[in-house]
Symmetry: C2
Subunit: 334 residues, 2 copies
């Protein structure tokens, strides 16, 4: 059926009016970010360093972006997810370790004796992490981590842990990569644990994941080769450990860094101390309804010194409650 020309044109206009907002949404690389100060700062920065011939232009090879993981790319409450993994693994592995029934902090962890466990402190936690993260090959450990990530559920949301990643940060990672940035994780989390999901969930390949590191040993046994994980901490990728590992492994200073806690302070300082235009950002957990609200007094992910440094240095501080249209991918945007 043919319409008179004028009618056709009007129908076309009406259609366009319907479709335009969808097109605009499709073209928006950061749809989960409100048009607030953080989004504006990110977009202005990326435009500045990618505009050829502009005074702030930076060659693609130098566009290194580093992200903390816990509390920056995914949630970290009520405890670091990797700690929940270690406690779960301890239970799974307990039948092969009858001695744990008598030894602290294993006994307390297996019995759910939170008070004794808490008393064992960071040293106790490290023992649990080492016991569950070593004594097998890297390949086997990745399988263990993936099995847990596929099956375990978060204690309050009931979601898989890999669902509890921040949708606005996923968009930010994509946006930076589309603008020629190489995106890295630089996190206190153990590096092989993060590699078990970083590529699938964040689009960050194993070789761009830096983290806390255990000792390892190349082993040949009955003609089979493996890399065995040793119960020994060789690098704690937190605080000063972050710029140290960045210098050791990446070998150049990042142009862009995002964190959320005092453990990220030195990484952000190191990033900003370079020449030219640079970007430092913090996720500020201000949203008790959709996620959690905590900062200067939190036990997990304390944000105190880094928040003060951000205020002094004019870094970007993301107010999660106000600036994120949604927190998790499974939510509808508001």
């Amino acid at each position: 059926m043919r319409h008179p020309p004028m009618l056709s044109f009007m129908r076309w206009c009406a259609l366009l009016l319907l479709v335009l907002p969808l097109l605009a949404r499709a073209a928006d690389p950061l749809p989960s970010w409100q048009d607030g100060p953080s989004r504006q700062a990110i977009e202005a920065f990326v435009t500045a360093v990618t505009t050829e011939g502009g005074k702030d232009y930076v060659a693609p090879a130098e566009r290194i972006a580093v992200f903390d993981n816990d509390g920056t790319l995914w949630s970290e409450q009520p405890a670091y997810f990797q700690v929940l993994f270690a406690l779960s693994e301890l239970k799974r592995m307990a039948p092969e370790h009858p001695e744990w029934k008598q030894q602290q902090p294993f006994k307390a962890a297996l019995e759910g004796d939170q008070q004794t466990l808490a008393k064992s402190g960071m040293a106790g936690l490290l023992q649990i992490v080492l016991a569950t993260h070593s004594g097998m090959s890297s390949a086997q450990f990745i399988q263990n981590a993936r099995h847990w990530l596929d099956t375990a559920r978060h204690p309050t949301t009931g979601r898989r842990f890999t669902e509890m990643v921040f949708q606005p940060m996923l968009e930010l990672l994509d946006y930076l990569r589309a603008n020629g940035f190489k995106t890295y994780i630089v996190s206190g989390g153990e590096v092989v644990f993060m590699r078990a999901f970083a590529e699938e969930v964040y689009g960050i390949p194993p070789e761009q994941v830096i983290g806390t590191t255990l000792g390892s040993r190349f082993e040949e046994k009955a003609g089979r080769l493996s890399i065995q994980r040793l119960p020994k901490l060789v690098h704690n990728d937190d605080g000063v450990g972050k710029p140290e590992s960045i210098d050791r492994i990446i070998g150049r200073r990042p142009l862009f860094a995002f964190g959320n806690s005092d453990g990220d302070l030195q990484m952000l300082q190191w990033t900003m101390a370079g020449p030219g235009k640079r970007f430092a950002g913090l996720v500020h957990h201000t949203d008790a309804k959709r996620e959690w609200a905590y900062d200067r007094n939190s036990k997990v992910g304390r944000l105190d010194k880094a928040l003060s440094a951000a205020n002094r240095g004019n870094w970007t501080v993301v107010d999660m409650a106000r600036e994120w249209r949604r927190v998790y991918p499974f939510e509808s945007p508001r």
Copy 2:
């Protein structure tokens, strides 16, 4: 002036005949490789793993290629170039270290007393490397290395050390990258020293250089931040150290590996132990005229166990004298 059509066509044919070999040369990604067994093995492998739909196809993300540096990408005679750098730096820095005049192995090194120096062995060499490679920031050390690389000359060829890179290997690096491979250095050389020239000379960015590693410390002094290099060996990237660092830093198994000495054996074994089609190559120094000839009995770059493993495993062994049309970029091809 117009020619009769037939004459024009004949002139065009004659021109084509003249130009064709040049076009073929321009299209050849490996012009310095004779059409011998190594070149054929490389090309067959790359074609197999990059042919979409083929049974040996490997996704680009998994195309990790690792190269040793000393003896594989550049020469290593009469001594590792980094050792020559360390000895030169020792002399340059001596005025600030009057104590070296009395201390071995520094005294012997400064006086050119080869016998005493040799007696101090690997431990003595390590002392000299640590003394000249630490006690300053990473940024300062890179400047020192670049200054030496810009000014020092090889004792027998009189060339700059960065001219003594292997032209066929430069072509191989380019060829692999053009086929979607990510090229890495994994070398016993100290990592920051290699980063001082790897990007410019090999096209390998700092974050794809893995090597022997010193301790480092993030330092804030009078408001200035730096990464200070410590006189402490934290990783020896040789032998079993290579698959260990590959697993720790890259986090996946290479698909393609090239070395030249027994220090590369485990890296090559680790590469070949994975599933599917894989490539292991050795540069065999057989060319006493253009480079050096050495293998099973050499003190530098000994190739003994790895050569036997290559023969057993059907790895590619490059006969430098026969298979390379030229060794260095400054030579004309033969």
